[in-house]
């Protein structure tokens, strides 16, 4: 993974696979750090699974032997001096928090988060995805629900819609002075 936005795209796939229909992505950034919070109402994990999740060879999937998404994110957060934490309850949902320290030279860049979010919202029309970016005292938020209300019978996964969302999110994040590299 080259940047934080790719990690977010990847981590949200876990929530979708856990049958979540509500997924909240919150990024809060200050001058020192970037905090990522991803909260879902999916099937959650029991204690034994939760304990193993940080093991790079653990996965409950059967199509492939290794689970890599969480260990990679953990490694990248730690290499910046930050950390990763997962809270989960079986049947309730999961909350993942990752902290990155920006002033560390090993901290990954944000990357084109607007593309990740636009493709997540447009490419997963069954889920309600809520995205919020807080940069110091300013913030921007958008959700699948608000977009669907406007679109009515036009599908969320229409390419024109995806492109529009990407531009809209990009412009609004630039407006609150988010830097992508």
């Amino acid at each position: 993974m080259k940047n934080i936005s790719e990690h977010i795209l990847d981590i949200v796939q876990n929530s979708i696979r856990a049958k979540a229909d509500n997924i909240e992505i919150l990024i809060s950034e200050t001058n020192q750090e970037i905090n990522i919070h991803i909260t879902d109402n999916g099937m959650g994990m029991d204690k034994t699974i939760l304990q193993k999740v940080n093991d790079p060879f653990f996965t409950t999937r059967t199509t492939r032997k290794v689970g890599l998404g969480i260990p990679l994110l953990n490694q990248h957060a730690e290499q910046s001096g930050g950390w990763l934490k997962i809270i989960s309850e079986k049947g309730e949902g999961t909350k993942l928090t990752a902290k990155f320290l920006k002033n560390n030279i090993d901290c990954l860049p944000m990357g084109d988060i607007y593309t990740s979010i636009a493709l997540l919202i447009s490419g997963n029309p069954e889920q309600n995805i809520i995205f919020r970016y807080k940069k110091n005292d300013k913030q921007y938020s958008i959700s699948s629900m608000e977009i669907k209300e406007i679109l009515e019978d036009i599908p969320l996964n229409n390419p024109k819609v995806a492109n529009f969302l990407k531009e809209m999110i990009k412009e609004n994040l630039e407006n609150i002075k988010v830097s992508f590299n």
């Binding site: 999937r61 492939r64 593309t115 493709l119 997963n124 036009i154 809209m168």
Partner: protein
Amino acid sequence: MAKIKSLEDLKKMREDMKNKISLREKGERIDNLIQIKVSMATCGIASGAKETMDYMVNELDNRAVDAVVTQTGCMGYCYAEPTIEVTLPGEEPVIFGYVDTDKAQEIIDKYIIKGEPVDGIIPVNFKSIKDE
């Protein structure tokens, strides 16, 4: 500075799209919809699945192709990521491997628009991909 795009602009865009669509038959439209799924597993993302999906969405929009593009989980073809599944109207789904932006362009130009064969198809028992 230009005005920042908002949901108001989305509303205007929808009106525009609705007017164009209502010129065509509704039923016909559903039958003609091309369905594209992009695998978004960790190995896919690490191999550029995000760039592939972004590129396809852009191209399909620019050429006004009637398609929907969704994300899907691991298809189990880690060695051939990024992978995509394309279903043309009335046809069986086809899975393509190693779909970088060049390959995506070829698939759109030849397979999606002209219905011509393109290599890079992963042989499967022609069943739609699902996560596991």
